[in-house]
């Protein structure tokens, strides 16, 4: 029998990018919050600039839980799924916001209204067949104040392009209107960043410094970025990357109303006869506990949010918690993580001391920022020219058909070219489809014997056409900047496990097609809220973290405002 703990107002499962943000407005409002986290506290002394540890031995991800729960993956339901090689996320207080790349975007207004905007501009029939995409239950304007709150609470660097409709050519002219400037100016650019911006301008595009949850100057008692070059999958040794263990979580702890329990592996959401959540079970080592709570918020990564619901079966919810409409795991999508484009330049890029978030961004080919009347797809991709290089990966670069990638000839090649390559990932709109989904794997389990998540996901025609179109734009950009070789990755097939995984507990008014309502609370169990990108029904062409954090803040604020309705 699990040890019964003292009841709390709210229990949050996962103290990462999403749960770590939601804790703050709750604790500040005087609610008693218990945050359960599978990992532990890490600090700046854990974050040595060490490529072997960060990028080859996946040190940040080596906490048992996520490694033990690696999903399986397949392209279609006709195939058998295989376990993926590593889990893209990490367990720690702060979660993956510790080692992520920290691009900190707002979605563009179009991403909230894909169906209605596509129909309005191009007529019916342009939304791809088989897609289950819906408009979000609200538009960009509803989320703007929460974007603003999070940008200030965690600290985001950038250049506004639209303040109350007033365009600023230094920023992104396609972004939704902001209430005010970013709290910090953008990260500095290298000479290569400047060169890429110049090349984009000469193509008639509109480059701007991309937004980053990295301090460009001292902010809120923490230092500005030191540009040491190991930000990619590394924690920050000077606390300049704005992970929640440095920002919202300490502030929530300061109120005295948040208690963080580390190494806590949550196994089940418990339910009463009426279908309300009563709390969660978790294990620490060999000990089992039950944490009763008036309200349960799950803030794990997309795969684990869905998994926890599906594993929490009961008489009331025989197919998993809040899954009596069969929607848990549906409307799954992830960003394209293949299809990259890379280039070789005839000059040094001087990229050793940069970071992925130090980017020149181009949004001209994203979302609906260009006319799709004569194109055979909807949506698009954002381009991001970053400055990011480390020695082992530099020495492992492609030889662009100029000989073997080892031996004496290769030594001559690499001595000249190690600092001369550059890569774009292709980040583009992805839609949900009927046959892309998450469920429990029929055979693979974690060490507790519980099934892991199975990803069934395939990029469809619309996504592949965007990828090809964006690869063409990437090549144009590289050639304009003087590249002498350009190489393209394949367009891809199976989605695989992704760091940008969305859906599975989609948000929407209709309980027949969505798990949570427009505030993030379950249509079936009113005191269960879901935090994270698993509530998002579209991806946009940009990184999800800031949107997931803004949604988390909004869900938490709604819980404070509607406490009686939800908790009692």
């Amino acid at each position: 029998m699990p040890t019964q703990l003292k009841a709390t107002d709210v229990v949050i499962v996962g103290m990462g990018a999403a749960g770590g943000v939601a804790a703050l407005p709750l604790a500040e409002a005087g609610l008693e919050v218990v945050g359960l986290e599978a990992g532990t506290w890490l600090d700046r002394r854990d974050f040595a600039p060490d490529e072997i540890r960060n990028n080859y031995r996946d040190w940040p991800m080596l906490v048992d839980k996520c490694e033990d729960e690696r999903p399986t993956s397949r392209a279609t339901s006709a195939q058998t799924a295989n376990r993926v090689g590593s889990h893209p996320m990490m367990n720690a207080v702060g979660g993956t916001s510790i080692h992520y790349w920290a691009q900190s975007w707002r979605l563009n207004p179009w991403d909230f209204k894909v169906v209605s905007e596509t129909t309005r501009r191009y007529g019916r029939g342009r939304v791809p067949a088989g897609s289950t995409v819906e408009d979000w239950p609200f538009g960009y304007d509803e989320l703007e104040p929460y974007y603003d709150l999070v940008e200030r609470a965690v600290g985001v660097s950038g250049q506004a392009g639209n303040i109350h409709g007033q365009l600023d050519p230094r920023g992104n002219k396609f972004e939704g209107p902001r209430d005010r400037e970013f709290p910090m100016p953008p990260l500095r650019w290298t000479a290569f960043n400047e060169r890429m911006a110049e090349a984009a301008r000469s193509l008639g595009w509109h480059p701007f410094p991309g937004p980053a949850a990295v301090n460009s100057e001292n902010y809120d008692g923490r230092r500005g970025c030191v540009y040491h070059g190991f930000c990619n999958k590394g924690g920050c040794p000077v606390d300049a990357k704005n992970a929640t263990h440095l920002t919202t979580i300490p502030k929530a702890l300061d109120t005295g109303n948040l208690k963080v329990v580390t190494r806590a592996h949550v196994t089940k959401i418990e339910v009463d006869g009426a279908g309300r959540a009563t709390g969660v079970n978790y294990v620490v080592g060999n000990n089992e506990y039950f944490q009763p709570a008036r309200v349960v918020l799950i803030g794990c990564y997309t795969y684990e949010n869905v998994r926890l619901l599906l594993l929490s079966k009961s008489r009331v919810y025989p197919d998993g918690f809040s899954n009596n409409h069969g929607q848990v795991g549906r409307h799954y999508l992830s960003h394209h993580q293949g299809a990259g484009v890379s280039a070789l330049f005839p000059y040094d890029l001087d990229a050793w001391y940069g970071l992925p978030a130090q980017g020149v961004s181009v949004d001209d080919w994203a979302d609906d920022n260009f006319d799709h009347s004569d194109l055979d797809f909807i949506g698009g991709g954002n381009l991001w020219a970053m400055s990011d290089r480390r020695p082992i990966s530099a020495a492992g670069m492609s030889t662009y058909g100029r000989g073997r990638n080892w031996g004496s000839g290769w030594k001559r090649f690499i001595a000249e070219n190690a600092d001369r390559s550059h890569g774009f990932y292709i980040q583009k709109s992805t839609l949900p489809y009927e046959d892309n989904y998450l469920d429990l794997d029929p055979t693979e389990t974690d060490r507790l014997g519980m099934p892991v998540i199975r990803i069934t996901g395939q990029f469809k025609e619309n996504e592949l056409r965007i990828a090809k179109f964006i690869q063409d734009r990437a090549e144009e950009w590289y050639l304009e900047a003087g590249a002498i070789e350009v190489s393209r990755g394949g367009l891809g097939n199976a989605m695989g496990a992704s760091t940008h995984a969305y859906g599975g507990t989609r948000m929407g008014e209709n309980p027949e097609t969505n798990v949570v309502d427009s505030w993030g609370f379950s249509h079936e169990a009113p005191n269960l809220g879901v935090l994270g990108a698993s509530v998002m029904g579209t991806s946009g062409a940009r990184n999800p973290t800031l949107t997931s954090q803004a949604l988390s803040w909004r869900t938490a604020q709604h819980l404070v405002d509607a406490w009686r309705d939800i908790a009692e």
Binding site: R53, W59, H228, G396, G407, K411, A415, A418
Partner: protein
């Protein structure tokens, strides 16, 4: 491989093995081997180890070691551009890795090295270590392309997977942080003109880099006091 003269303050092979086994016993998180390590000490120990001849490794037999040495030596040879993978300590890196983070690949090494030798006998009529440079290269090309097959050769998986594993670990050993036993005398970083691990790069330093005027820093990340183990740990 010619033995290099030992320096006065050299460490014995036994000491090296002790160090390696301590590292093997340590947690997955690498820390400095000695809490008193300073930038100077790291450089000094790197110098010392360069002088240690390649002896028996902890995780491979003498014969396996000979084959691996020959392979790694062809992947990144010593030449007029500087030291190769052997002088940069790639074998020591791999041996330590097989004791710790990469221990689950030890069997793949044993199988692959034996299969490499068998393929060499089968296709070129001699053990791999008795072939000349060009012949060794052509055998390795067969491995890399997955073409090293034949009666009784016996690569588990494909020869390409084995080749890529060894190449990947060799690159980690040559171009990774010297803390792990490779990149001796910063040979890897010098080859690619990596200007070194710095804890802060000012705008002015970035400009100097862009003007080819930035002096390289030669130290391990673990030479910074912030990442050294303390008594409280």
């Amino acid at each position: 491989m010619a033995e290099k003269p030992r320096k006065e303050n050299d460490i014995s092979r036994r000491d090296m093995l002790k160090t390696a086994s301590a590292a093997g016993a340590a947690a997955l998180i690498p820390g400095p081997l000695d809490a008193s390590t300073t930038a100077g000490a790291v450089e000094a120990s790197v110098e010392l180890v360069a002088a240690v001849p390649v002896g028996p490794l902890m995780n491979l037999t003498a014969r396996e070691t000979e084959i691996l040495s020959a392979m790694v030596d062809r992947l990144i040879p010593s030449d007029e551009l500087g030291p190769g993978a052997l002088d940069a300590g790639a074998l020591r890196y791999i041996d330590r890795a097989l004791s710790e983070a990469e221990s689950d690949t030890a069997e793949a090494y044993r199988n692959g090295l034996t299969a490499l030798d068998r393929y060499s006998e089968y296709s070129r009529g001699k053990p791999f270590t008795e072939l000349g440079d060009k012949e060794q290269d052509s055998v390795l090309i067969d491995l890399q392309t997955g073409g090293a097959t034949g009666a009784g050769v016996g690569f588990v998986g494909s020869s390409g997977a084995f080749f890529n594993m060894v190449k990947s670990h060799t690159w980690q050993g040559v171009f990774g942080d010297p803390q792990y036993g490779g990149n001796v005398n910063f040979a890897g970083w010098d080859l690619i003109n990596y200007p070194g691990v710095r804890m802060r790069v000012s705008r002015e330093e970035q400009r100097r880099l862009e003007n080819d005027q930035l002096e390289p820093v030669r130290q391990s990340a673990y030479a910074f006091a912030q990442f050294q183990a303390t008594e409280e740990d």
